[in-house]
């Protein structure tokens, strides 16, 4: 059996918000740490760091995941989307972001990037989701401020 020395850093090639990145990361770092510390994308938030709160939600090859429960190394060759990539041109807010502002669907804001990424995935896959479906879809995202109703209303507003 091997007693391992401290593992060397590895090079990660991945696409984040449409841009190819080559990052030097520790092999045991999560995708959350990779995005925040190696890629400098601090929109993705750490909440519980154990998969309960959804604050670190990002899209990985089109599926939402808790980035705290993914190793950065697993993103090799994959497409990652964070809250920074939601606004279509980086200037105009996405309809969801605008609706969150108009419906006051945030207070402290820590959970908001995760909610936006999850809600965008819902609108992309089920644009006509009813309230029950929206609540089910967002069950993996916790908010300790607003009590959810405003968030649900914002998602419904963004549905048009």
């Amino acid at each position: 059996m091997t007693t391992a020395p401290t593992p060397q850093k590895i090079i990660l090639n991945t696409t984040i918000n449409g841009q190819e990145h080559q990052l030097l990361i520790a092999p045991h770092h999560s995708l959350l740490e990779t995005l925040r510390e190696a890629a400098g994308l601090t929109g993705v938030k750490e909440g519980c760091n154990d998969g309960n709160c959804g604050a670190c939600t990002v899209s990985l090859d089109g599926r939402i995941v808790d980035s705290c429960l993914v190793l950065g190394a697993e993103a090799e060759g994959k497409q990652v989307q964070t809250v920074e990539g939601i606004a279509p041109d980086g200037q105009t807010l996405h309809p969801l972001q605008q609706a969150f502002l108009e419906e006051a669907a945030l207070q402290c804001g820590i959970c908001t990037p995760g909610f936006l990424v999850a809600a965008k995935a819902l609108l992309d896959s089920e644009p006509d989701a009813d309230e029950d479906r929206i609540r089910l879809w967002l069950a993996g995202n916790l908010c300790r401020c607003t009590g959810y109703d405003k968030i649900i209303r914002a998602v419904q507003k963004a549905q048009g």
């Binding site: 007693t3 391992a4 593992p7 999560s30 154990d50 599926r63 995941v65 808790d66 429960l69």
Partner: protein, 289 residues
């Protein structure tokens, strides 16, 4: 977290080599929803994490004449999003669509749920009542284990050093088969089962007699429990609420719950009675449809 290496083998043989080389200091990584949390909280210190998702067999999901083969790393969403699988294996779908939230279902696998061997696992009872076999590979080759014999204690399985789960195989259900899984939780979503029950039954061609039945229990013992007497009590009988109630009593006898913050012994036994009756009722409806 203890720093570890990330290894991504592309064949079963390479994965066995990697796991065997590091022994207790390595774990297989499928969806990561248990192992990364456990590693972070210091349940074990690892020198290597072996990502098995690049091994084609581990991510294969194949429905054939003989049944369904689920690669050990196939995430829950791939199972419930397949309409044909959903129709044939309703007990699995109940579990795959209630484990965690959407984010967890994107990653978590039934194979990982089995290897994690939590007494409250939602995925294991449905596998048992669908008569599933676990196929593993290790330094001594391959072997198969009935899922009801796979878990030995909380967090402990039959897996030896260097051995890992490759796939889970479920026979194709006969005509007249139905199954269901339900759990009790105080919330609507994202919770750990206080009690979970999976049931299945097979009706004869006329639909008036039960030919085979299984009841399996979660969170009422150190491992998931196949309540053999409960299932056997139904064989040869006409399906009825009285027969289901009696099976519920026998299932409660087989339960060995502890009292903790989520429920005491009597409450958990009562939940076993109720959920056995309800899951058998749903299984019957599905067998008849």
């Amino acid at each position: 977290m203890h720093p570890f290496q990330y290894l991504a083998p592309t064949s079963v043989a390479e994965a066995v080599d990697a796991l065997a080389r590091y022994g207790d200091r390595a774990r297989a990584l499928a969806g990561g929803t248990d192992i990364l949390v456990q590693t972070r909280t210091g349940r074990f210190d690892l020198d290597a994490v072996v990502d098995v998702k690049r091994v084609p067999e581990l991510t294969a999901l194949a429905l054939g004449e003989d049944g369904l083969s689920i690669g050990a790393a196939v995430p829950c969403h791939r199972i419930y999003e397949d309409a044909e699988i959903a129709g044939l294996y309703p007990g699995l779908i109940d579990a795959a669509s209630l484990i965690g939230g959407i984010q967890i279902q994107s990653r978590a696998s039934l194979g990982g749920n089995l290897c994690n061997a939590s007494p409250s696992a939602d995925g294991i009872c449905p596998l048992i009542v669908h008569y599933a076999q676990a196929h593993t590979a290790g330094p001594n080759g391959r072997r198969s284990t009935p899922v009801e014999e796979f878990c030995l204690a909380p967090g402990q399985t039959v897996l030896g050093t260097g051995e890992f789960l490759v796939s889970i195989e479920l026979p194709r259900p006969p005509a007249g088969f139905g199954a269901a899984y339900q759990r009790f939780i105080p919330r609507n979503e994202m919770d750990i089962a206080v009690v979970g029950v999976g049931s299945s039954l097979t009706l004869n061609a006329a639909g008036d007699r039960i030919e085979a039945a299984r009841v399996a229990l979660a969170a009422v013992g150190p491992t998931p429990i196949l309540a053999q007497a409960a299932g056997d009590s139904l064989v040869g009988k006409a399906p009825s609420i009285d027969a289901f109630r009696e099976a519920g009593e026998l299932a409660a006898d087989a339960a060995r719950p502890i009292s903790d913050m989520r429920g005491d012994v009597n409450f958990r036994k009562e939940l076993v009675r109720v959920l056995t009756r309800r899951t058998l009722t749903t299984a019957l409806e599905r067998a008849q449809s």
